[in-house]
């Protein structure tokens, strides 16, 4: 039979991609395109905001344009805020969140693991935590001030108490979601209760625990502003509180943006720790 089909000649795979209309997109890569998309959307919002404020379509007092916020930030960096530098305020807040959060982790994880494996402990602690969980941190402030005064201790305790239930429940959930066959395998080899706990339950619960820690970081940061309402002399929450009283909206925005950015950074740190502690996370279905 004669072959009158047109011959298709491709020198290389690259050449094939060159010819395709998507060639440019392919070369940019999915990741880059997604970053560009995010930057374009956020940038557009900022530009629209800037223009609305510049042309006085919205009040500059209530919606200071991004450029004014930026100027105010440079101003604070140069001259400080009510006698303290921005860095001091920032470190005060980060220190409180870090100590409160780490305290919640240090108490919460062992407590949660113990609750999951011991019904008596669970029955005693669970109602207390379920009671604490829905109460907003603000409600504890007068009590903490009466008990512990107005120093750093009540602020750290407030953050720790707010974060604790999430950490505990994630540890409980982690142990409870351990596949039974993982336990059966260990028991088959004659593992003691303690060995099963150490080699199987603890490891298996790490993905859930890290999810809890990430939510916990968020809760810790939300408790921060509440904590810094307790007669504070420094901190981002305190900055926001003072600026609000003085109608300094630019400084309120600076505080909010910094709290958001630092929260994001802390979440990133937890994710990095998780990446090294639980590299198998994406494959936990084994």
């Amino acid at each position: 039979m004669k072959s009158d089909l047109p011959e298709l000649q491709i020198e290389s795979i690259e050449e094939l991609y060159e010819q395709s209309p998507d060639a440019d997109n392919r070369r940019l890569g999915r990741g880059t395109r997604r970053v560009i998309r995010t930057v374009v959307v956020i940038g557009s919002v900022l530009i629209v905001w800037e223009l609305l404020a510049r042309f006085n379509l919205v009040s500059q007092v209530f919606f200071p344009p991004p450029s004014a916020i930026w100027d105010a930030l440079l101003d604070i960096l140069r001259t400080g805020f009510y006698g303290s530098t921005l860095l001091e305020n920032l470190l005060a807040s980060v220190g409180r969140v870090a100590v409160g959060f780490l305290a919640a982790v240090a108490i919460g994880i062992p407590l949660g693991l113990a609750m999951a494996r011991n019904d008596t402990i669970y029955d005693i602690v669970d109602p207390v935590l379920e009671f604490i969980r829905p109460v907003p941190p603000l409600a504890y402030i007068p009590l903490l001030v009466v008990w512990f005064g107005i120093g750093e201790l009540p602020k750290v305790i407030l953050i720790a108490v707010g974060t604790l239930p999430m950490v505990v429940f994630s540890a409980v959930a982690g142990v409870r979601s351990t596949p039974t066959q993982r336990v059966s395998v260990a028991r088959c080899f004659g593992a003691s209760e303690w060995q099963v706990f150490w080699h199987v339950y603890l490891q298996s619960s790490l993905p859930e625990i890290f999810t809890g820690l990430r939510v916990g970081v968020g809760i810790a940061w939300s408790s921060l502003v509440a904590a810094e309402l307790i007669a504070a002399q420094a901190g981002l929450g305190w900055m926001i509180e003072i600026s609000g009283r003085e109608l300094q909206v630019t400084y309120i925005f600076i505080g909010i943006v910094l709290i958001g950015a630092l929260g994001y950074l802390m979440d990133l740190i937890v994710r990095i720790v998780e990446h090294f502690a639980v590299p198998w996370r994406a494959h936990s279905g084994l």
Binding site: R182, L206, H283
Partner: protein
């Protein structure tokens, strides 16, 4: 020798569901060095029986003894491998294989490594020591699970549909692999399977079970000598055994045979 003496199992019901009589009573012996397969319809209690022998559960009635001593709890002389490999994703291949030895804890490090290396060699996993389980294919993962079970040198190896989750090609490779491993380590084994060919190829005895509550419908001795190869399944004799087992499992097939 493993002796199953009038063992039955009933799972207790609750307010909403009735109790389930899953198994028995069944009685049989498994002599040392023999491979025994349990085949039967789904839900006939064959996996339940294997779990009872493993000690993961207790019989409602009757007793199970290993060398005259009653089985009451799991122990590493009776190691089970499941349909899923159930590897620990936080350990690499060699640590997974060493897991049972570590739990026992009687061996020093050098001896442990020696035995792990041997088990890896037998199961064809040499060179994969540092891989994580999720970097391996399903068949390779099941080999790791086998190595982990074999390395503690159990008196009896319990296999709960070990190849049921694998594709047909991998399954036949794994059957050949298991045949070879059993030749080398000469361990006693009890195998639960849906696959009649697998039962014939691997076992010395096949127990055909009835639907729930599972009882023994027939005990069939497989006469082939070892070493065996997969092509024994193509012989007249194997075909005859296969037909026999099928007819016991599915009496409706026997009635309709030849009418079409």
């Amino acid at each position: 020798m493993i002796a199953i003496e009038a063992v039955s199992k009933t799972f207790r019901g609750s307010r909403r569901k009735a109790a389930t009589h899953a198994l028995g009573p069944v009685t049989f012996n498994l002599p040392d060095g023999e491979v025994l397969s349990l085949v039967g319809p789904s839900g006939c209690g064959k996996s339940t029986l294997l779990h009872l022998v493993a000690g993961l559960d207790r019989p409602t009635q009757g007793r199970i003894t290993l060398d005259g001593r009653e089985v009451t709890a799991p122990g590493k002389e009776r190691v089970i491998a499941f349909q899923q490999p159930v590897l620990y994703p936080w350990l690499d291949v060699s640590d997974n294989v060493a897991f049972g030895l570590k739990i026992g804890g009687r061996l020093d490090k050098a001896e442990r490594k020696q035995r792990v290396d041997r088990a890896l060699a037998i199961t064809g996993l040499g060179g994969f020591e540092k891989h994580r389980p999720y970097e391996l294919s399903g068949g390779m993962q099941q080999r790791v699970a086998m190595a982990r079970a074999l390395v503690v040198e159990p008196r009896i190896l319990l296999l709960d549909e070990p190849f049921g989750a694998l594709d047909a090609l991998t399954r036949s490779q794994m059957q050949a692999f298991l045949l070879e491993v059993l030749m080398r380590v000469r361990t006693t084994a009890m195998l639960v399977t849906h696959d009649i060919d697998e039962a014939i190829l691997l076992s010395d005895q096949v127990l055909v079970m009835t639907a729930r509550p599972g009882r023994i419908a027939a005990t069939i001795t497989i006469p082939f000598t070892r070493p065996r190869a997969w092509d024994l399944l193509l012989t007249e004799e194997a075909l005859h055994l296969r037909k026999m087992i099928l007819e016991i499992m599915r009496p409706d097939l026997a009635d309709s045979a030849g009418t079409h």
